[in-house]
Symmetry: C2
Subunit: 232 residues, 2 copies
């Protein structure tokens, strides 16, 4: 994928390298989230610890991509679409890093909550987590192809995630009322649910950066309808 | 405050204008947070609605500062410290916007939770909220003066906020166990507490951007000790 024809072929190579780096980071974050979910459901403390240990890799990638972006701005003085790409990347990696933090948080929850009897609380997170991972996977796919329509589709998936989140919270609230001594444990699971729900918001942010890059329009803080209008 | 001597005096004027704009945005966010807290404690639905209504002003400022930053990069091709300032601003406004969202969320909570009998739940948020506002105020002050030492001091305040947050959650958990039928309302207050606790994390982020601008060192993802070392 070419981001315009530059006098310097080297510039293209550099832009492409950063883009690849972002996708690698995205892949790692997706894997972290997926491992965290597995750790939660299989009560696998080793896997949970691995997720927590590996979070620094995500952080390091954020810092290194950020540096690469600043370097390319200083050196190549990009304008127009090239500059928008770099801006979109700078913002995307912030959201990816925070999704990485969510994975760590879920892994932490997997370790802290004894699952033998609380398994049903964990289980209730499964569909939510699966939806969040799907959303992340699809937004990374849209990013790889810089596909505005795909980005707009992913953007809409957040409503489904929110609805699932509300259902999970209601269910957990019932468990709390049934057996108040379980409140601290269930609260832990609720924090995890909340964190997963936020993954959807972060994926929406990335969708908006893709649209900003391709269309040159800042569609943040608009509803789905205005977003559709902006893409017409 | 001069950010270096530019051949173009106009460049200085533009940089200064963006910086002023960030401080105005910060002031508005601080006011939103403060109004949200008042609305919560005085059970003032009108004020809460005003906070929710005014959130779009914060959002609009984020978009407009972002545009100004992109424009200045394309037009002035800044390097070194000027570029770091712009990068720091781009990241700072993202965090400010999210703090604005927290204010809205607290205001929403103030409307949704009938306070007549639940007043004690709300009251428990007061010290937490006051601390968060202080932290935001101080980080904006550090930003205005680009004062690294002040930024490092604010960074450390987050531990206090976290401790206060833990205390609030423990207290609210006790209320839940005492009277399980109050669980839904108390949960709402807990979400607000959680959101306020996150304000501290966002203020820490801004501290890190200030240090990045002044020192040219990326101190994200380091502990307080490494942060102190980086400032030596």
């Amino acid at each position: 994928m070419q981001f315009g024809r530059h006098i310097s072929g080297q510039f293209n190579v550099e832009l492409e390298a950063i883009r690849t780096h972002v996708l690698t980071m995205g892949g790692l974050v997706e894997q972290q989230l997926s491992f965290a979910m597995q750790a939660l459901h299989k009560d696998d403390a080793d896997l949970a610890n691995k997720v927590i240990r590996d979070d620094h890799k995500v952080n390091a990638m954020e810092v290194s991509i950020d540096e690469a972006c600043t370097r390319i701005i200083a050196k190549r003085q990009p304008t127009a679409k090239d500059l928008r790409l770099i801006m979109a990347i700078i913002k995307t990696i912030t959201d990816l890093e925070r999704i990485g933090d969510v994975a760590s948080k879920i892994a932490q929850g997997a370790i802290e909550i004894p699952s033998t009897k609380e398994q049903k609380f964990h289980v209730s997170l499964e569909p939510l987590c699966r939806q969040a991972i799907t959303m992340l996977h699809q937004v990374l796919d849209a990013f790889a192809r810089m596909d505005v329509d795909a980005a707009a589709e992913v953007h809409k998936l957040d409503d489904k995630l929110d609805a699932e989140y509300e259902a999970v919270i209601r269910q957990l609230m019932t468990y709390m009322m049934e057996d108040p001594k379980n409140i601290p444990n269930i609260l832990q699971v609720m924090w995890s649910a909340r964190a997963i729900e936020r993954v959807g918001d972060r994926c929406q942010n990335i969708c908006e950066y893709i649209i900003y890059f391709v269309k040159g329009k800042d569609v943040r803080h608009l509803g789905d309808q205005s977003l559709d209008d902006a893409l017409k």
